[in-house]
Amino acid sequence: MPMEKKQKRLYLRIAILAVLVAAIVYTIYTTANKNDVKLLKVGDDAPNFSLVDLNGKTHKLSDYKGQGVLLNFWGTWCKPCKKEMPAINDQYKEFKDQGIQILGINIAQSELEVTSFTDKLGVEFPIVIDKTRSVMRAYNVDPLPATILINKDGKIENIITGEMKEKEINQYLNSIKP
């Protein structure tokens, strides 16, 4: 048997084994991570969306390119959401003229509930209602509150689930300041 042929056979065997081992590793890896598969990861492009706020103004994420954007998903029944909302509002006042946008995204509640909630807390940043849960699904938001930080290039900088303290919000907003 000539040497070249043997070499060829060895390479073929290496190639076949490599492909199959890669397939096994891939299968095990993805199955192991199946349960916490986040459709979204830090560094991904933030999915674009368009929702109308309580004043009738349309907010389209792509219009805010060049600015830092904080998305806060919330609901009136969610206690930690209620707790962090005033802190977000205070930080909004501080950062709103520094190229930062804050959007509160309510999950499919009635306008009455949302307005009475925000009026009571004196929320100044725009609040939109995700009636069809489309944005919630696009961002794979499950437990509330969830906060997504998007940098000026439209990439996701950070994903926070659970209540935030005012100091943390301050740090997060500084991190996405253009």
């Binding site: 076949i16 299968t27 993805t30 199955t31 199946k34 368009s50 069809t132 489309s134």
Partner: protein, 555 residues
């Protein structure tokens, strides 16, 4: 590597049983055997030819049939154990409970052991998947190592084989014959075998008739099918190939569909019907009707919309209606590779509440207020100077916190309101807190009240969204697999060798990989016709001899 040089001068690789060129037996074993082992045409199985590098060693491990069978057995046993108890995804886990507790509650100590050993999610375990992967490697390595030499050997086979090869075939016969008679026999044999749809090749004094060589490829074809099938199953893990999501959607609601970007679903109506008494068969009425009625239909009437730009979530301005369908069990709405199935339902969720604004003393009504619980209005004008303002709405009222009503869910499970009622009699307004079976007047006694009249309810459809792009791949894999099985089972590779020796004999040998009966039928047809030597089945002879030696066991 040691090569084996045959007497005919051909150099064979180590491990060859029968010379690749002339068919002479090369190993001591084959030389002494009455019938040679024709598996893989006596070619060296590739893995056995060299064993130098680590890659070769791994390859040879997987190429072994023993290893392959062991992997199959272990996989089957593991898969069987996985069916002892329901897998974790099918176990009903109560809220606030973990899966382990559910196994203990349902199945006791055995359930606990089962869970702790990780058998409750066996098919997702790394070791089960490794087993399947090893099975794939084994199938590929074993097929290549055996299939390639077999293919080459059959492709390059010579018409003339050595006498020792022919003698050791299961079917063999010989007789003395004159040269001209032998030639005539070969001519007749060629004619007959061609009639029987054999391909006939001839050289000086030798003949090879062959039929259905492709039957030998059956096992290799079905291995290809298996590998495609496994690949299809693996593809399910890749994003976009397999979607299995669920959606709860209320009547009148429009919701985005999980897993279907850019699509929205509107639920017009959910219907649950049972058979009426007169529709049911007599036997059902006698026994079961007393306990419960039998379901006839679960149906969601839905409309599917597609947004103009699927890249923009929440964009519901310019939606296009693309389908409307009555989803019933086994009649899904199918669109663009997706299928929406009727899976579950909830009946009679609160939708609207109807109140009457009445004077407590006189009972005189100033008008009715119909409150849509999904979108209550801020203010309801009753005309003639009366109106009701909704100051607060609590869909699932759960008590007061710091004097303020709380709601712990967005669903109207236990709605409560704070109303401010204005009438010509009470122009400044009166405040009242109204919940189910509870009315509070926090700011003093009121003259008027919101008297609960009735409720409207609606149903909720539970749908499952499925997409499986791997189905065509699985189908192709399955078809190829079956094709291999059919080819391997229903056709047999048959060969007949005839040879006139220099010392004036005519040799006959025949081989088939299965169905010797048919081979013998073909032989019977040709031997008399072409005056060929009488043949014997050497294996059957052996068996007969054995039986005779063992004597009568029938006692």
């Amino acid at each position: 590597m040691k090569n084996i040089t045959c007497e005919c001068g051909h150099v064979n690789p180590e491990g060859t049983h029968l010379c690749e060129k002339c068919g002479r037996p090369l190993t001591e074993e084959e030389k002494h055997a009455k019938v040679v082992d024709m598996k893989y045409e006596g070619r060296a199985i590739r893995s056995k030819t060299y064993n130098k590098t680590i890659i070769d060693k791994i390859w040879n491990f997987f190429s072994s049939v023993k290893v392959g069978v062991s992997i199959i057995v272990i996989t089957l046993v593991a898969a069987a154990i996985g069916t002892f108890l329901p897998q974790v995804m099918y176990v009903n886990v109560m809220q606030g409970e973990d899966a382990k507790q559910a196994y203990i509650d349902n199945y006791g100590t055995f359930g606990k052991i089962y869970y702790n050993l990780g058998l409750s999610d066996i098919y997702s375990s790394w070791w089960f998947q490794t087993l399947i992967g090893m099975l794939a490697i084994s199938i590929i390595a074993a097929s290549i190592d055996r299939g390639v030499p077999l293919y080459k050997s059959l492709k390059n086979q010579r018409v003339k084989r050595h006498e020792s090869f022919m003698k050791r075939q299961r079917i063999f016969g010989e007789k003395e014959i004159a040269a001209d008679k032998a030639e005539e026999s070969l001519n007749l044999a060629e004619k007959k075998m061609k009639e029987l749809k054999y391909k006939v090749r001839r050289e000086d004094g030798v003949l090879l008739a062959e039929k259905n060589r492709f039957a030998r490829s059956g096992p290799y074809i079905n291995h290809v099918g298996l590998i495609i099938f496994l690949f299809g199953v693996m593809l399910r893990l890749m994003p976009g190939f397999y979607i299995d999501e669920s959606l709860w959607i209320r009547e009148g609601e429009t919701a985005s569909i999980p897993g279907m970007d850019g699509y929205y679903l509107h639920n017009n109506k959910f219907t649950f019907e049972t058979y009426k008494k007169e529709e049911q068969k007599q036997e059902f009425n006698q026994s079961k009707a007393a306990v419960n009625s039998i379901a006839k239909n679960y149906q969601s009437d839905v409309v599917l919309y597609q947004s103009k730009d699927e890249g923009i979530a929440g964009e519901t301005q310019d939606m296009k209606k693309v389908a409307h369908h009555a989803i019933q069990v086994n009649k899904p709405l199918k669109y663009d590779g997706y299928a929406l199935y009727q899976m579950d339902f909830k009946l009679n969720e609160l939708k609207a509440m109807n109140f009457n604004l009445v004077n407590k003393k006189t009972g005189k009504s100033l008008g009715e207020v119909d409150i849509d619980l999904t979108e209550p209005k801020k203010e309801y004008d009753l005309g003639s100077g009366s109106k009701v303002e909704v100051k607060g709405y609590y869909p699932t009222f759960s008590g007061f916190d710091d004097g303020e009503p709380q709601s712990d869910s967005p669903l109207p499970n236990n709605p409560a309101f704070i109303f401010k009622m204005y009438t010509p009699e009470t122009p400044k307004g009166e405040t009242s807190f109204v919940a189910i079976k509870q009315t509070l007047e926090p700011l003093g006694t009121t003259k008027y009240q919101m008297k609960f009249q009735n409720i409207e309810t609606r149903n909720v459809s539970g749908l499952t969204i499925r997409k499986d792009r791997t189905l065509p791949i699985l189908a192709i894999g399955g078809i190829i697999f079956m094709l291999g099985v059919v080819i391997g089972s229903y056709w047999s590779h048959r060969r007949l060798w005839l040879q006139r020796t220099n010392d004036g004999r005519l040799l006959l040998a025949a081989h088939t990989n299965k169905n010797w009966f048919s081979m013998k039928k073909d032989l019977d047809a040709v031997t008399t016709y072409a005056h060929l030597p009488l043949w014997v089945d050497q294996q059957e002879e052996d068996e007969k001899e054995m039986e005779e030696k063992e004597g009568d066991n029938t006692l």
